[in-house]
Every structure is written in C-alpha cells, then in structure tokens.
Amino acid sequence: MLRVRGLGKRFGDTVALADVDLDVAEGEVVVVIGPSGSGKSTLVRCIDLLEDIDAGSVELDGELLGFRVDRRGVLRRLPARRTAPQRRRMGMVFQSFNLFAHLTVERNVWEAPVRALGEPLAEARARAHQLLERVGLGHKGDAYPVQLSGGQQQRVAIARALAVRPRLMLFDEPTSALDPELVGEVLAVMESLAQERTTMVVVTHELQFAREVATRVVFMDAGRVVEQGTPDEVFGNPRTERLQTFLQRFSAAS
C-alpha cells in the first residue's frame, strides 16, 4: 500500500534520511525504532508531506505523493496547498498533539470531515461522538483541549486523525510528551486500532509496544534503515552491532 523508495532528506548540511526504502502492506503495523536523531520522525513527516523530500519517492496505493508528472513528462513538485486530497488519505498523530486550541474537542474531530470531505454537519458530529466514545472520551466533547490531560488530548488527536477515514495512520512519537502514567491509555487505544487491522506506521521509544503490537519492526540509525523484521527477529536475534547496543542500552534503562 505504501511504498517508499530511495527517500533522502537533508536539513542544511545535516543528512536526516539517506536512501530509505520502506514498504507497508494493508493491515500491517510497522513500528520504527532507533536512537534520537536517527531520522525516524523525519521519515513519517516526509510520508505525510510535512517536509519536502530531496530524493526518492513516496507512493500510496500506486499514486505518487507530493508530485505530478506534467504533459511533457516533467516531474513537478506540488505546492502544499494542492496536496490536500493526498494528505486526507493519511492520518497523523503528533508528539505534541497539536489539537486546535480554539475549538472544542468535538469540533476538533468534525472540522476536517465537514470542511475537507463535505460531510453533512449532523452526520459528522454523530461520527465525531462515536470516535470520541471509541477513545473513551465521549463525555468530553464540549471541553476545550487545554482542559484535558496530555493523555486525553492525544486520544482526541487520534480520533481527529481517524475522522477523515485515512487509509494509513502515522504516529510520530505519540507518547513522548506524556507523563509516564498517561502513556498506557494512549498505547491501549493504538493497540485496539492494530487489532482492527488498521494500517499503521508508528515511530516510538516504547519497545514493549513494538514487541507486542508490531507486525514488523524497523530499526533506523543515522538516517538509514539498518535492520527490519518481525518483533521476534529484531528483539530476539539482532544481527547488527548497532541494534544490539541500542537494545542493550534500553534494557539496562528499564
């Protein structure tokens, strides 16, 4: 479903991603792990078209993302305002939630379906309520984001991303900004999504989550995919030294 080929991204002189290939099939839960600065956040941000890529390509269901080929066969980068339909097919959950601060929780969820998909308001509101129930926040629809805990805000953010019926859900360190006791409630929601066979790419430091929920684990370091495989392969039998050191440091910490 998702096909990333030769993806490259640099910020000034810093190479964030170099020649990254990644395939995600329907229903897969791909968890991307790796040390800070390894490029894993940049990877999902590039997939979601939040960053302009410098090399390679990203395709979703066979459609090239962020570019078009004009009549002469020249590849042209689409300006951000013209990629909206493509981005609706992916749902993004940010580390810092990014709920719309001036809108109620419920409206955070139905704003995009109504404005972007043209769903009737009544329908969109009913669905927003359903989605909030699903993340355990059906009673918080009238609250403003600032009145919620971090974990609740992130659950709303997940509901909001689901509201545009994305083909693929992307998570960019969804629990890194949370107090330890709030991490569980967000991971529980993500786990239930995985059980419903939602296609997901999850960047996280929660190795326990990766071990239990991932269908495939991708280990990145220095902007490259170093190793990938089933959780058993990656955690039970790491082949590269870098992954071994990374896992050791983590198990020592926990």
Binding site: A80, R81, G91, N98, A101, R115, A116, P145, A161, V164
Partner: protein, 293 residues
C-alpha cells in the same frame, strides 16, 4: 499563642497550641508606606478638586453649556465616523498588504514592503495635507488600461474634499500599522496548528480562516485596540484641512467666543468617553477570543 487578628474580616480557626509555628496564627506584614501613599494620593486629589472648584477661568458652566451643544455633537459624529471608516479601510488595506508580505510571489512581497516603508514614514499631518492638495499634482483622476485608453475621468478638485482627503490620509496612515499587527498575529500561531490542519487535508482557505486567523485574532486584538485608539486621537489632525471634527467644532466655537479652555475641556471629556467605550469593546472582544486558552 493564638490571638484574633485585628481588622480581619473573619477570624481564622485558631491553630492548636503546639508551639510549632502555624500559618493560621500569622498576621499580615506591617506596611507603613501603604498609608503614606494613600495620604499623598488624597492630598493630590484634594488639590485638584480645590483647583477645579476655585478657578474662575475653568468656567465649568460653559463646559456644561457646550457639552451637548449641537455643533459639538456634530463634530463628535464626524470624529466617530472618520475613526470607523479609517479603521475599516485601514484594516482591510493592512490585511491585503500583510497577505502580500507573506505571499510566495516575490513581486507582491516587495510591493508590500515598499508600501509599509512609505506610509509608515510620512507623518499623518503631512499625509493629510498632501492628499488634500492632490489636485495640484494630478489634476485629473482616470481609470483605464495603464498607458492606454481610460474608461472614466474625474477632476481631482471635485473628488478631493476635506472629507475624502481625511479618509484617504488616515486610512493610508493606518494601513502599515494594521499590516504589521496582523502579520505578527499570523506569525505567532504555532506551526504545529498549521501542520495539524494540513495533515488533515483541510483546504488552504479553511486552514486560514478557521484555524490560523481565529487563533491570530487573539494575539492581534490588544495592539489593534491601541491602534484604533491612537487613530481616534489622530482624527483631531483633520481640523488643519478645514474639517469640523470634535476638535474642529470646539475651535470654531472658541474663535467666536474666546472661551478657549472650557471648549478644549469639552473636547477632552468627549475623547475620554470615546476611548473608554473603545476600551470596553476591546476587553469584550478579547474575552470572546480567549476561549480555549
């Protein structure tokens, strides 16, 4: 240990006498300077009141006589109308200039920067005089294709009245300030909010009007309020181009009657009332736009 605090509105429950210091036994710190400050303020106020009551030049009866006189109220209406029109036009112009400044098209950005540089450099009084005398520079105003035929022509002398010159001058003077205030508000919206909107595939127009602008408005309102207040006071300059605003009306009266100070006080009182009304409106708007923060 525990004793009732003198002057306290409600005596707190006394702490059990354990010998350990307890906040419930505390009394406010002594503040001798507080009483000194009150004394100074009362003396100053008394002096002011005594001055007002004793002065025979203040002529409060004249103030009362003219406060609601028709020429003054006409001038007041002109001042309010000028402020309202110049606020609306200046803000609309400012918003356009601001969007041009933030545009991805370089020529638009340069034009906007030049606009801001020019109209912010020229003092408002100079602008009023300049636009009032526009007919000398451009005798005929025409609309048409640049360097080509025109579809309509007007004599500048007919178009430029004191009123239009005042509206043009004040709006243009106001526009660069509005532009910069709006720009600062738009730039202050956190990037994450815009990323979330674009990631949801919200069309650019909805992202701007439903996410970015409402959040920017909260930041724009306080400086914009100050700007409207200084514009209101700036309208008093239009009396130099023969317009009868609040100050102009007061001047017309006192050049006849020579009651200069009382009529200036009439104008001052009205300016204070207008600014108080604007301030009240501003705090109402600020409360409205601070929901969710």
């Amino acid at each position: 240990m525990s004793r009732p605090a003198p002057g306290a509105v409600k005596a707190p429950d006394p702490a059990p006498a354990t010998g350990v210091p307890d906040a419930r036994d505390s009394r406010p710190e002594r503040r001798p300077w507080l009483w000194v400050a009150w004394a100074v303020l009362v003396v100053l106020l008394a002096q002011l009141v005594a001055f007002v009551l004793r002065s025979d030049r203040l002529e409060l009866s004249v103030v009362g006589e003219y406060l609601f006189a028709e020429p003054i109220l006409d001038g007041l209406v002109t001042t309010i109308a000028l402020t309202a029109i110049a606020t609306v036009l200046g803000t609309v112009l400012g918003a356009l200039v601001c969007l041009a400044r933030l545009s991805s098209l370089a020529p638009l950005r340069y034009a906007a920067a030049a606009w801001i540089a020019v109209f912010r450099s020229v003092p408002p009084l100079v602008q009023l005089l300049f636009w009032f005398n526009l007919a000398y520079l451009v005798p005929v105003l025409s609309i048409g294709i640049p360097f080509g035929p025109s579809v309509g022509e007007w004599s500048a002398n007919d178009v430029i009245t004191p009123y239009t010159a005042a509206v043009i001058g004040l709006s243009l003077y106001n526009s660069p300030y509005s532009a910069e205030i709006i720009r600062s508000g738009l730039s202050a919206v956190p990037r994450g909010q815009l990323e979330a909107a674009s990631s949801l595939g919200l069309p650019a127009r909805d992202t701007f009007f439903r996410i970015r602008l409402p959040q920017a408005t909260r930041i724009i309102l306080p400086p914009m309020g100050s700007q409207v207040i200084s514009l209101l006071k700036g309208t008093s300059l239009v009396s130099v181009i023969a317009m009868t605003d609040l100050l102009g009306a007061a001047r017309e009266v006192y050049t006849r009657t020579f009651e200069v100070v009382p009529l200036l006080i009439v104008a001052i009182l009205w300016y204070i009332v207008l600014v108080a009304a604007l301030t009240a409106g501003q705090s109402w708007l600020e409360r409205r736009f601070s929901r969710g923060y």
